[in-house]
């Protein structure tokens, strides 16, 4: 068949640059763009926390104990007289760090395991999938709590604790995509050229399952922020006096909920908004990258 005018057109057309892609994404998926805007805002808060926060998040001021929202403390102060707004702004650092760290570790380790499982097939695949089954039988928070018990609390360990339950979940999804990639002629070609397993897995197969990995990673981000908040709320995550949203809801916030509701309301709003942003963005990204997954 002769090339249709359309194909010729698309050949001569200039590749849209990064800005073009972004503009297109915003126009087609306004909700996703809203999510992206929330994420950017959060990144901005985290990056410039020391410039824009009105107070030091750790500074205690007993004169302002449980102070209601006012011109001095926009969102009020907590039981130690610490400024709630400043702690929320600094808390975005913790949330982003834990969220990004956990989903990066979880998605990348899971992806490598998933691709390797699909590539080797046979007994390796069988054993890997049975191990994944075992991890699936644990509720996410139970597994995270067990890891925290081993490693101890603190931001770094929380990242590992949250990444752990994500690894098998990502491995399962990536494996199913990698199974079809394995059938591709270029994988055979790579084997025929005598490349090692590691090179084929990392250089040939992994880049071709990037779409599901990216989708899983963004989906994990919101979940990781929620999990971090949950663990911190239980007192098993990030430790005082570090500013973290889940931690702000713990203890005094519940105790004084009636007389000082701002302590309980605003950090929760911050968590919800952040997760909302990541979910919106993740959903649109999924639709844009993989229309097949739309119904899931």
């Amino acid at each position: 068949m002769a090339a249709s005018p359309q194909t010729v057109d698309s050949l001569t057309q200039r590749e849209p640059g990064w800005w073009g892609v972004i503009a297109d994404f915003c126009r087609r998926r306004p909700l996703g763009a809203l999510g992206g805007g929330i994420i950017l805002f959060m990144v901005f808060l985290a990056a410039s926390a020391n410039l824009i926060a009105p107070y030091d998040p750790l500074e205690t001021d007993y004169g302002a104990m449980l102070a209601a929202p006012s011109a001095a403390h926009w969102l009020g102060a907590d039981a130690f007289g610490r400024d709630v707004l400043s702690r929320i702004i600094y808390g975005s650092r913790t949330a982003l760090m834990v969220g990004l760290g956990a989903s990066l570790i979880g998605a990348s380790l899971g992806a490598v395991i998933g691709v390797a499982s699909a590539y080797f097939g046979g007994r390796v695949d069988l054993i890997t999938q049975r191990v994944v089954d075992v991890f699936f039988a644990f509720p996410v928070i139970i597994l995270a709590l067990a890891v925290v018990a081993i490693l101890g609390a603190g931001a770094g360990n929380v990242i590992i604790a949250i990444a752990t339950p994500m690894i098998p979940r990502c491995a399962r999804v990536v494996r199913s995509s990698a199974l079809s990639v394995r059938q591709m002629p270029y994988v055979d070609a790579a084997r025929a050229s005598g490349f090692g397993h590691r090179r084929i897995i990392l250089r040939h197969m992994l880049p071709n399952v990037m779409a599901p990995i990216l989708i899983m990673a963004t989906a994990f981000l919101g979940e990781a922020i929620l999990l971090e908040a949950s663990l911190s709320f239980l007192g098993l995550g990030v430790q005082e006096p570090v500013a973290a949203w889940g931690l702000m809801l713990r203890g005094a916030a519940v105790q004084f909920a009636e007389s000082a509701p701002w302590m309980a309301i605003f950090p929760g709003l911050a968590i919800s908004l952040a997760v909302f942003g990541f979910n919106l963005f993740g959903d649109s990204l999924r639709d844009a990258l993989d229309p097949r997954l739309r119904t899931q």
Binding site: R130, A137, I142, L145, A146, G222, L234
Partner: protein
């Protein structure tokens, strides 16, 4: 079918064995043990090594790992959970009431999720791309974003300010005083159910949209059937299955996964017991809890698969 059921049941055994090995080893890696934890709790930090070793011997902690593991497995095979290392009481007794609470909460939360997801999903699909659709979608995405423990705090706060009333904080089993029991559990069930309805709502909406485009719906329309009848008889029956699956799979996780919400409402469910047990390094109790939660999860999965084949005649397992 009978063969399939048997195969599925047998396949659970290696998975459960894997869960057992995993939690057994994980617990042994946790620093400290129950003897140390108990002496620390009693405030006696400087206990002689001999005394601690004697205590360990009593609990069987001095045995080699493989022996501890086989003893535990032998007990499990006879449905004997053993005794708690911390209290010395029977684990079955200790878990009983907590299990009742967690199970009831999981059932109530799933009911809330189902009652929200199905009508909202249908509504959004019927009014696709109108403000109704957008409102439902934002409502469900917001539910997914709000931590249910925070929603719980807000619920308590609202009741406190509006009605000067808070839910009872001591658990009463439903067979003792149903009113007291429901007054306490309805609120956490609402907070959790709202969150878990989100996935179901979106599923219901997309399944409904898909089904409404099928040929047999067009045929039904062409026959001049009422919209109501088409919806209930033709569309809903085909669209509802994946939604029920998603909700039942989430139900399987609710049994042990509600740690934080339990904390907010001061409920002593399985989640809180797990946190407590692991902090006390109570190996036997933690292990029993994990096995219980995992078995429950596997069985719910199993029943969902079987129910699928039973409800949908197109699916036949061989």
């Amino acid at each position: 079918m009978g063969y399939y059921v048997l195969k599925r049941l047998l396949a659970m055994i290696p998975t459960l064995l894997g869960v057992a090995v995993l939690i057994f080893l994980l617990l042994r890696v946790v620093p400290g043990d129950v003897v140390e934890a108990r002496f620390l709790a009693q405030g006696s930090q400087f206990v002689s090594q001999d005394l601690m070793n004697a205590e360990r011997q009593k609990l069987g902690l001095d045995q080699p790992l493989w022996k501890q593991f086989t003893t535990w497995m032998w007990g499990l095979a006879r449905f004997d959970f053993g005794v708690s290392m911390w209290t010395g009481g029977s684990i079955a007794e200790e878990i009983k009431l907590r299990f009742a609470l967690s199970l009831q909460l999981a059932i109530m939360a799933s009911t809330v999720a189902t009652l929200l997801a199905i009508p909202l999903g249908i509504l959004a699909a019927m009014k696709q791309d109108t403000w109704v659709d957008y409102t439902v979608r934002v409502f469900s995405i917001a539910g997914l974003a709000m931590p249910s423990f925070w929603l719980g705090i807000l619920l308590i706060l609202v009741m406190l300010t509006a009605f000067k009333w808070i839910p009872p904080m001591v658990f009463t089993p439903i067979w003792v005083d149903p009113w007291q029991n429901l007054a306490q559990l309805v609120w956490p069930a609402l907070a959790i159910g709202y969150r878990y309805s989100a996935v179901g709502t979106r599923m219901m909406r997309s399944a409904m949209l898909e089904v409404l485009r099928e040929d047999y719906i067009r045929t039904a329309r062409a026959k001049g059937l009422w919209t109501k009848l088409i919806l209930s008889r033709h569309a809903l029956k085909n669209a509802i299955l994946p939604v029920l699956t998603v909700i039942s799979l989430e139900f399987a996780f609710l049994l042990g996964g509600l740690v934080v919400t339990e904390q907010v409402f001061n409920l002593n469910g399985l989640g809180m017991l797990f946190v407590e047990a692991i902090a006390r390094r109570d190996y036997t109790l933690t292990q029993a809890l994990v096995m219980l939660i995992a078995t429950f999860f596997l069985f719910v999965n199993f029943f969902v698969d079987i129910a699928y084949a039973w409800i949908d005649p197109r699916i036949r397992y061989s």
